[in-house]
């Protein structure tokens, strides 16, 4: 009697088709095999009732025979249908009526559908047609006879190599779409389909854009729809949905890759795949870079992810037994041999392998033929793997991939310069190969630009390369990340203290200024009582009376002249009409019913007094003091950021504020501190010190 391979029970002789009946009933009692526990299942029953019946759709769309409902999702319902005229199966997507009610949906729908119809790629589900009938918006799409990646995971863990193949295919499709300016916005296992031959097809390109109401923040547009997708969304998609570009897809792809490798979602401080399974260590960088919070720190193109995954696939750690591809000269190391530490300066061992991404040309400034690639150092050769882009649209469409092998015996020299903003790696060679397709500066020399973050790896590669070809080591030091970080922390703590002092100057001076202000105001109010206006002339008001007294100290000849001038001036101004008395011996001029300020004004008009200082208006004094106080507080927060190594961007802004000479701190040392901060903060090693410690990293 046969035994069931699944439950180990005996299968009765009369069991249909020799299949285990217990397992069959068990299967029927199990939950649906797909989408069972997806968050997107929060689909209320009335909405599934909303989905029109196949019969009704056939009546509405007589050009199709709608066969059955094959899925309901956040965007609508999908049916399998047949187009009798062309005798082909199609997938018919009916958009949910809640989206159709959005303003201007018809135009947006038409625009998106036209864009999607242009995406012709073997890895993208094609859109054949679209339309509207009785308020139902529908898309006619290629029918994929297969399952989605979510079901494939549910049906059993995928072999790692297959995972990478799938991810690479997704990369190709994404790169193609991105080159056409289409962002998927909703990459997740449910949208990645596998057909019968295991080929990848990506569904629902750009539809997320369509269903999200641009007027509303993402959290309000169909909560149901967002729920399941949140886990795969790039941070900027949640925070700033308006500014999403193709790099959001790269993030989502990273989440998918991580989930496929580890079975978990990368939440919070997640472990890298290599920490969970040493075999996946070559993929750590890929995962970490795709999941960078800042889009500019991610891979900038899906093709780069593809190249990096390709590199990881060919890594000997990933395939300890048999290297794939066959082109790699990697010699499999015996399992018992302990792994060689990467940063030791030992001669090139069989397993020593360094890979550094490089770039020739600049995508931002539209340098001719931008080229991305990977330099890999093997035991006996240097392999250059690259992809170029066409110069007009910066797309891979008219570019090409290539690979060059440079045996170490043909390498004459290797240099690396750690410049301020450019880090060229130069390889001099004696190869007869002209490296066609690879932009090279001149014959016999290849020049690659290394990104700052890959500098350490480039240094290692160069050290080993020079060692291997018998050249003396270059004088640069290869930092261990910990040492580099410790140094960065030390430097940054001094900087933080300095910026804190500048901040303190501002905040402390504010109260002093306010106190001074009130003191000064008191002076001003007492001015008319007695004030030395000039060395010789004193104007006083006698309290209790309305007379002022002008006293001229010494009655020399000049003073007598002045006294006359004063008197005549006052008389002229008709101040003194009948009221001014002069005592020649004491030099007093008395005037009734006048304030000393009037006298001062008159005397001033006649040029008899030196100009009194003008008062600063109170509002100006208070507001400038407040401004200084606020700047001081901001600078203190900047100092705090630097000391706690968080929020690099804010710290950099504060460095700029520190320099601006509108506050007392800037005058008292802020300008040098600010310049110092700008320089330190823009250093790569310090920046990474920040990022490593930021809570989201």
């Amino acid at each position: 009697m046969a035994t069931c391979p699944n439950c180990q029970r005996e299968i009765p002789a009369d069991a249909p088709a020799g299949l285990c009946p217990v397992c069959a009933i068990g299967l029927a009692r199990s939950k649906p095999r797909n989408a069972a526990d997806l968050p997107t299942r929060a689909f209320s029953s009335e909405e599934s009732e909303d989905a029109p019946s196949p019969e009704m759709l056939t009546r509405l769309l007589p050009q199709f025979q709608v066969e059955e409902l094959i899925g309901i999702g956040g965007m609508g319902a999908v049916y399998r249908a047949r187009q009798p005229k062309l005798d082909r199966p199609v997938a018919l997507k009916i958009m949910s009526s809640q989206f159709a009610r959005q303003p201007a949906f018809a135009e947006r729908f038409a625009r998106e559908a036209r864009t999607l119809a242009r995406l012709n790629h073997p890895q993208i589900v094609s859109v054949f047609d679209f339309g509207e009938v009785n308020g139902l918006y529908y898309l006619v799409m290629e029918y994929v006879d297969g399952i989605n990646l979510r079901d494939a995971i549910a049906a059993g863990k995928l072999p790692a190599d297959e995972v990478l193949q799938i991810v690479q295919q997704v990369c190709e499709a994404l790169q193609f779409a991105h080159d056409q300016g289409v962002v998927h916005r909703d990459i997740k296992p449910e949208n990645i389909l596998l057909d019968q031959r295991g080929r990848v097809k990506i569904a629902d390109f750009g539809l997320a854009k369509l269903t999200a109401d641009p007027q509303l923040p993402v959290s309000l547009t169909g909560t149901r729809q967002v729920l399941g997708t949140f886990n795969y969304m790039a941070p900027e998609q949640i925070e700033k949905p308006g500014s999403v570009d193709h790099r959001a897809d790269i993030y989502s792809l990273g989440v998918v890759l991580y989930e496929l490798l580890t079975g978990e979602l990368p939440m919070g401080r997640f472990q890298l795949p290599g920490e969970k399974q040493p075999r996946y260590a070559p993929l750590d960088d890929v995962v970490a870079r795709t999941l960078e919070k800042e889009p500019q720190r991610r891979y900038q193109q899906a093709s780069e992810v593809r190249t990096a995954v390709e590199m990881a696939r060919s890594d000997s750690r990933f395939h300890p037994v048999q290297p794939i591809g066959g082109r790699r000269p990697v010699v499999a190391e015996p399992v018992a041999q302990p792994p060689q530490p990467k940063d030791s300066h030992s001669p090139l061992s069989k397993t020593a392998e360094y890979t550094v991404p490089f770039r020739i040309g600049n995508p931002k400034t539209g340098y001719w033929n931008q080229t991305d690639g990977m330099l890999s150092l093997y035991r006996d050769e240097l392999v250059i793997h690259y992809t170029t882009r066409d110069p007009f649209f910066n797309s891979r469409l008219f570019g090409h991939d290539g690979e060059h092998h440079l045996p170490l015996a043909q390498i004459a020299g290797a240099e690396f310069q750690e410049g301020w903003c450019s880090h060229p790696l130069t390889v001099k060679h004696k190869s007869p190969n002209d490296f066609r397709g690879l932009p090279s500066e001149k014959r016999g020399s290849l020049r690659f630009q290394i990104a700052t973050e890959d500098m350490e790896e480039a240094k290692r590669l160069i050290s080993h390369l020079r060692n291997a070809i018998g050249q003396p080591p270059l004088p640069f030091t290869i930092d261990k990340p910990e040492a580099r970080q410790a140094r960065a922390r030390r430097r940054l703590s001094w900087l933080g203290i300095a910026m804190g002092l500048v901040g303190l100057v501002n905040t402390a001076i504010f109260p002093l200024l306010l106190i001074g202000l009130f003191f000064f105001r008191t002076e001003v109010s007492s001015l008319p009582q007695s004030l030395d206006l000039d060395s010789d002339i004193k104007i006083e008001s006698t309290s209790g009376s309305s007379k002022i007294k002008v006293t001229i100290d010494s009655l020399d000849e000049q003073s007598q002249n002045e006294e006359a001038s004063v008197k005549s001036a006052l008389e002229l101004a008709e101040l003194a009409e009948g009221d001014v008395t002069t005592q020649a011996d004491t030099g007093e001029v008395k005037s009734d019913n006048k304030q000393p300020s009037d006298a001062i004004e008159i005397l001033n008009d006649f040029g008899l007094l030196s100009t009194p200082e003008e008062e600063i208006p109170v509002w100006a004094q208070v507001s400038s003091s407040l401004l200084m106080f606020v700047i001081g507080l901001l600078l203190l927060t900047g100092a705090h950021c630097i000391l706690s190594l968080r929020h690099w961007g804010w710290a950099l802004s504060m460095a700029i504020l520190c320099i601006v000479p509108i506050h007392i701190g800037a005058i008292l040392g802020g300008i040098p501190v600010g310049i110092w901060a700008l320089v330190e903060l823009s250093r790569y090693s310090n920046r990474t010190a920040f990022n490593l410690d930021s809570p989201a990293a």
């Binding site: 029970r9 249909p16 095999r33 494939a152 019968q196 569904a203």
Partner: protein, 249 residues
Amino acid sequence: MSSSHDDIEAGKQRPHFATTQWSLVAAAAEPAAGPGRAALEQLCQQYWQPLYAWLRQSGSSHEDAEDLVQSFLLDTIDSGRVERADPSRGRFRTFLLASLKHYRANWRRGEQTLKRGGGVERWSLDFAQAGKSWPGEPSDRETPDRQFDRKWALCLIENSLQRVAAKSEAKGRGDLFARLKPYLTGADDADSHERVASELGLTVGAVRVALHRWREEWRRAIREEIRQTVLEEAEIEDELAHLMSVLGG
């Protein structure tokens, strides 16, 4: 499942319980005619084997059992026995067995044979096959009722498999289904996928996709089969649990 666009929720049953064959039978005012009769006929055609098994297990000979099943089915359908059995409170399985027990108690050989026109059979039921698959002697371990239920479960699985096969045939994938059918209850992991793929000369992807799809389809087919014999959606789980216990799971 196929072409899982979006967040597919295939296998999701419609919220309203569709009219099933048994509910048609139960609701028919006059089961001897109309859609109720057609439904009953179809159900009987599908589930006559458990009746045979019950009779054999209770000691009837092959000929007796064959005759009895034939006349019982005829009588049930023609005479509208359903009405009297008050099916509205039961499942088709329990109804059928109860009816059979009742019928057998009143059955006299020959009488019915004459009644139905001298042995002319209106049902083409493959009793020869049923007799062959019968072990020969009634099993000591099983009561007739348990035997009935056990056979019922197998019958149900058989019918569901046919349902899936017919569907595959309609999609032009009958061949592949026939080849993969033996693996439907097999282990479900990457290794076994690879093994099956190499045995059948297919790609691993094709095997994984196809097995996954057909398992799901089969799951739905079994439930659909049961749905046809009960009155309420909630009873499906009970029925499954019962069949599981009968099969010794």
